[in-house]
Symmetry: D3
Subunit: 324 residues, 6 copies
């Protein structure tokens, strides 16, 4: 059966489709004759969008649904402060058996190809043996590698899809290389590439890996990917007694300072050229991706100006192809 996409549901439609539960709240009826009873308010979603839903006689016990479940729903779209699915039937599905591509956006680039590209950087481009060993220790760990390859680079704004972290990392590598080409005497390329590869590994623990909607972990919200990442590197380094202490200091500094400014969440500002270059490579990748994402959502038929984007605080002018 072809999946109905949430984003194209309209008032009056009959619904029979799969969805991920983005929010779920049991609410008591206020009407006296239903005293003690509860109904279920939901937000359902998939890659195409999100919609409110309500179920008046929800399943209980083991069959009750909660946030992040993947479900099959049947019902019809009514109106209550906007479109709302009145659900007649809901069933939990085994998340391992559904097509995650319906629920999670995935990188446009092939994940295996990107993995290979990253491994090649580690093998071919990092000459310094301690850094090479550190990276090998990380990326030869299959659990780590799987997490790294699937994680998004952010929940909103940029590279917010499966494989996004990997895709973002490769971009950051490219922008680091470009800076090293211009300032080869000042930049330590081996160190800069290592920083680029490891700068966001804390993201793997910042988002729940089993979460279809990239939920934050408690640790993600209380510690944050910057300090988690530094900790992950520190733990690996504790097992490499020969690693030069100053190199460690510089590498840890790069992870801590890669957001560049205190008000952007960096506990320290970049104080080495490599940390400074990493910050700018990260910024460039995030910003360009954010800008092109707004362009990507624009349909050519609706003129040359995209809708207002509240993050970029502007509309973007996208000249038609002919002109280009």
């Amino acid at each position: 059966m072809k999946k109905q996409m949430i984003g194209s549901l309209r008032i009056g439609d009959e619904v029979e489709t799969q969805a991920v539960v983005l929010e779920a709240n049991m609410t008591a009826f206020s009407a006296p004759h239903r005293a003690g009873d509860h109904f279920l308010r939901l937000v359902l979603g998939d890659v195409s969008g999100r919609i409110k839903a309500v179920m008046w006689d929800p399943p209980a016990g083991d069959e009750s649904v909660k946030q992040d479940d993947v479900v099959f729903v049947r019902g019809s779209v009514g109106e209550y402060h906007g479109p709302q699915v009145v659900v007649s039937d809901i069933r939990k599905l085994d998340p391992e058996k559904v097509n995650r591509a319906f629920f999670q956006p995935v990188s446009a680039r092939d994940i295996n190809e990107m993995t290979a590209e990253l491994n090649k950087v580690i093998e071919k481009d990092i000459g310094e043996r301690h850094l090479k060993k550190l990276l090998a220790d990380f990326f030869s760990d299959e659990t780590f590698m799987r997490g790294f390859a699937r994680a998004p680079a952010a929940r909103t704004v940029h590279h917010n899809w499966v494989g996004g972290l990997l895709e973002h990392t490769l971009e950051v590598i490219a922008f680091c290389r470009s800076q090293a080409e211009q300032y080869p005497h000042e930049i330590n390329l081996d160190l800069l590439l290592t920083g680029a590869i490891l700068h966001d590994i804390g993201k793997i623990e910042e988002y729940r890996q089993d979460s279809i909607s990239f939920e934050f972990t408690d640790r993600g919200k209380l510690i944050g990917h910057i300090c988690i990442g530094k900790e992950m590197v520190a733990q690996k380094l504790d097992q490499l007694p020969d690693f030069p202490p100053n190199l460690r200091l510089e590498l840890e500094h790069m992870l801590l300072s890669h957001h560049g400014l205190r008000e952007w969440g960096a506990p320290e500002v970049p104080k080495t050229i490599d940390a400074f270059a990493l910050f700018h490579a990260d910024l460039l990748s995030a910003r360009l991706n954010q800008f092109t994402a707004v362009m990507g959502k624009h349909s050519p038929g609706s003129g040359e100006w995209t809708e207002w984007d509240r993050f970029l605080e502007r509309s973007i002018y996208v000249p038609s192809e002919g002109e280009k």
Copy 2:
């Protein structure tokens, strides 16, 4: 011999005193007949102030002086862009044999008394056994305790003296307690006091312990006391396998967020009531100490207004005693 204090040297004075070398630079002569020779430009200091100095024929080799040395100097005060000591004789002293009180300001409170007060808090007031154990592990370590008892709480602005960290920590404890008295149901006092005691331990590694002028370590400048402190706690906790994971998460969050705002260097903002209370207790101690320090430097004879303080961006009105 009574020590001449640097702060009271005036042009025309003869100098025979001890000082700490705050800055030291060898400079080449530009005059042709001295080509190849160097002279030494210094900044000398003690608790009372700092002064420029110059020596035309400085000692070389093992006897050469460098930053943070304690020295005996003989010379006279001339004028070169302000008062400057022309040094005729300089000798390094054994830093262990000088009276450090001449070079480092020391807390007005007795360090042993403060140590006892802190230990009492740990023993009497912390009931939760995991937290008590963690604190005991830290403070029963004599090296740690010695470092903790001597470190300043900052290099400028507040509690910038030997014992300052300890003094500041006791104030933070008091302000935490005061908040817990008002909000006893919301605040977890055991956890809050533990956070108060540990919040600034990273300072011990942020400043060079052997430095008479509280120099930053490279690690202090590149990682910062917030992340160093969290790391110190993490290492101790790794050795306490029974420590409840959520308690660890909350405690680490408190250390990371105690500066309160990203622009003040907190990688995360406080997201628990205990972290929020700790931030405010720290703020209160730092700000009051800074304010009273400006009052302390004011001499009653010069009217009721202190000099302009560039950190507080104001003069302070200090009414005369009679009035009070």
Copy 3:
């Protein structure tokens, strides 16, 4: 009859309850056959929440309802941009005869108990006779005392309930005391406590005392509680010719500067240690109360994270009791 609470009304419910009129607008019909007629759009509220309402044939003349009236309403809940009561019957009630506790949130602490606690501070803790006299003059005035005991400390954000000003004042007193314990030589406790007690008295005139919804007075919006409070103090002091002029200056300065920063509405920044301490005590009470209010609205069943709070700009992590 048990009162139906506004916050639990749901679409389809029949309504027979009391409410306060938060907004009331007469609107002309646009349909030609009702030309010249008006209907009434309302917002009704009580301590539990607020709801829209409409009445097609509203009472006129003396029986017409306006903002801040307490009314009995009968009707049913329909839907128009969300739930809306269609009112069939509405009658004004004598505000003195209704149970105000249904319409105004009240402090969790007993008001008489708090009043006694405050009076004890004035009698026992303030030694300086001029300050004691000033306070006595204020608090022995029954009208003043009644206003003080009932006023909220703010309309939103913190202590926004009957008795809130008194409750907040006692917290500020506690935080002032705590600072004086740490800095006993610098702080003038008598003066600081006097400032704490009087700092927000302008609130009594900033909100309409007879308003069930704590409406601002025109004076409150055009002059503000800071300048009103200073004026109230000035008027009392004009009747105390012996009051030392410098003490008066310091006290007036404390009232004017207690918001701490110009951008927070302080016409002057604190320039005495007592004004500085008062500012921080006020800040601490307001912030902690705001933080715990968000915690208080969180239902333990819905996980460990509260909803996003737009004033604090964060969700709060509230660990479950077991853990604590």
Copy 4:
């Protein structure tokens, strides 16, 4: 004898002139043979500038000099961190007998003429009888009028001279009138002009009237001219029982809000059109005066660009006359 102007003293000059003492500090000698003795460090000034001075054997007792004294000095200009007068002789002068024009800059406009212009506004242009009475009560008070006519409008930045307040007030009146011409239906001209005339009267008490260097009073620093001015108006209004309460509210609001933004020191932002217009008239007068003052200090011979002005954060382009 023609007065030597401070601003044109150069190293090597002999000095015999009058000056006002801007700062005065007695300092102990550090050299042992002068133990117990003191010398006097001074800053001397007049309308043309300021210079450092030192006196090794200063007069004591009744003849000792302090800040704000007008003195006769004899000495010569040496060098010590820039030019410094070594004073051989110093004598206090009767401030009433010196030519204040040497020490205080004075408005370029005639003070009597400006006073007449202001009085004409009150008599001719204010029709509303309560406002007219209020103004008459103020300006018929000779002490008030004398203070008003002599006070500066600020200590730095704009109209910082004797008569500056009066000159600034007339400009604000003109800019208020100009706004009322454009928005005659919205603006209440009588009220706006009254606000313009009274908006800065707090300045009279913000600066010491007997101070040659426009020293702040304690009250000026702790209460500020905005709240002082409102208080002065309130006291006069208390004596006018017929004054309409709402008019009083609006007028007091205008005084409190005339700085326009909280961060510029306004306890309330302007919430009436008249308060809004007053704020802009005040802004315009202050800014234009500040801009033209920088132009006025520019000597035509040194090109078309003034020196950098740190308040305006720019150099100003002043095209030569011919061009204009």
Copy 5:
């Protein structure tokens, strides 16, 4: 037929009126039986307000409607997230034949009268011959004059109506004159008035002249009225070879800097007194107009406080006439 105004349409009304299409989107049906079909979502407006509309069987081909069309619509007002017209019939009208006054707000002042007033300024008040010639060249061009006389001064906030640019320009002229009266020696009145007249001419090209809803042109969004205006002046000046180069420089600077601050869009800050005065005159006109517009929308019956204005970030106090 009397036009039904959009702003007074209420749910249940029958609609037969003219409107301008503010937004128009063709949307595919999601219901299977309408696959391939589209419906039309609209926003319709006139001077009185705006309303959503939907048409299930919209006209196609030449008769299809798009943004900025003026149309006749027939239908009825239903409810879908607020009032929405369900359109049964829609027809495009010839924009030249409708009464534009229904769709575009127009200045309260007569446009011819304002044009005459402006021309008089050019003829009588500008003495410098090069400036007079430049202005004459602009305003003798009928196409330019027509555009200038019809353009608004802004799309929102202030003078946002037909003739608004002209009305705003006359106000700016008045505020410039007022400044020149106070600072006659510093200000070059001829130049200042010329700058006032030309400062916003870029607006003519910033908004589409044929657009009933003052749509931005692409050029308006990508270049902006400041640089467009400077370019328009530069083109005219290229044809006046005798124009003094320095005068040109000053005039171009005035246009570029009239927004005053970089963050307000000025590529350069004002560096001449005339540019500085122009900036303030523009600011005053824009701000007062914005403030009085909020007052104008306030109905006297609903009390003395206007609704909250999100641009001014305040409610305005409008005392009732009697009081005034």
Copy 6:
């Protein structure tokens, strides 16, 4: 004769060298016996630094010296608020005959080589014929090319040397290319490279080309390089009637918006992907150059931390080579 470098002059040195006059002021003597006479205060400089100078009997008439003259000076270094040359002899030199390399820092890269590299980009990499023609028109103009090749990219902060504009432009090209490699479908490489090449051409007119100290032109200060550059492009485009209007719009937008943010001087923010990429390439080149310049001034012997840089607001950690 080997040139004495200004930066190594010390008090007591005899001076016989060439210098550029950075500032020159004639000042009247205040001492009575020199009434009517003037002396000359100077600031002299070369690539190594700057020093104050004074000449008591300066040459007059044709031989008088002014800002930007290159001179031969003879004298000796005394002390007056720091080192100051007392000049006994001064003579103007023909600026064409001196070795400019003594007075102006020059790019470390060969200018001819950079010119060739730029020309190759224009010839090989720009395919779009209108853009290629536009660039050819600019760079085939020898006067333009000479100006472009010699201009600095800024007066301070980054690439502030002869050839700096060219060097900076090549870096910007490289960073543009790097972005286009990552986002090839979104970015129009021909347009982006054209923008990169032309983005700073306004600098040629912003600094006086004949000025040894890169003085600003009046036009540079009043119009700024952004608007000058746009104007230069517009003039060339007016001669290319076939140039597609939309391409022109996009190109002009890129020039206007390349500073990225209004507060950084951009009259418009980047609204196309190419403008956005150009902004980031420019930012990257400027920031890295600024960072490495601080590193370049650091002498390896003085430890691993550079001096505090007030623009970057930090010291930089430069690990010693061995470590790297």
